[in-house]
Amino acid sequence: MCTVCGCGDSKTTVPASTRLVQVEQDILATNNQHALKNRTWLKQHNIFTLNLVSSPGSGKTSLLTQTINHLKHKIPCSVIEGDQQTDNDAERIRATGAKAIQINTGKGCHLDAHGVGHAIHSLKPESGSALFIENVGNLVCPAAFDLGENHKVVILSITEGEDKPIKYPDMFHAADLLLVNKMDLLPYLDFDLERCLAYAKQVNPDINIFQVSAKTGEGMDSWYKWIESHVDQPTLAI
């Protein structure tokens, strides 16, 4: 708004001592440049990278430890863990034998491409490996920040309610794959699975969906096969 007369037209009311500078710059441009550098490096080194996003408590870390335990004899796996505080999740990952590095974002509510770039270079994932980035538990902020991944994977546990996809449409729109987790609890909950899947498809008609339970292993084979089909490693073809 105009600071002189409040007329709403800033162009006509610039005081003589000031001037206008046209900028026209994307606020996320710097993050996106870092993401492009990460993506280029990861592609050159033949590393398949997934950015795992969800609410807190969706079972991401359990799903990841199960996944690594299943895949580790076929595919080298490494993990970048994002949390506001503590090294607990990285410790859980390291217990599987996989390399893991923790980024504590402090007050930050998401990982950004610059921090992930540094983590990649410290972690040194092997060529032909899978790199999992476990983002901060948050269905809002991580949607906007490209990290240089191949795909965003959103994890929704059925204890959260079926309407999450339309409550947080940006995240479900940004993801290529939805894992509906904790399916073993379905008999005990009033969770409308069909409606949840319909909401997800409404927000993102192209989204792939697997129904899984990291605890019982139900449905996890589809997820493992999906990863294996994307990792470019000669031994997998045998």
Binding site: S17, V21, Q22, E24, Q25, I27, L28, H110, V203
Partner: protein, 113 residues
Amino acid sequence: MHEMSLCESILQILLDSAEKQNFQAVKTVTLELGALSCVEPEAMRLAFAATCSNTLAHGANLEIITVPANGYCSACDNNVVIEHRYDACPKCGNHPLQLSQGDEMRVKELEVE
């Protein structure tokens, strides 16, 4: 509260512009934010004031221009205004609409001295 880190990026844009365009103080920052850009304007204002405190943009006004979201409907070949990402075409009911504008987050212009 990713508005805080967006404001840190905005401040970096201001600092870069100040060097290139030779100014010492920013009086007004005008942003263009898409209606679907997942930014809460009030949170943005709070974060902006906090981030710019004791910088070249200390106390600067923040003008926010909201860019309406438009979607293209491939079924009926129309551009329509939408409120949500999951809206159906109001003319023919088709899903999905291709977002043609409304998720941008841009620093448009600065008033400087």
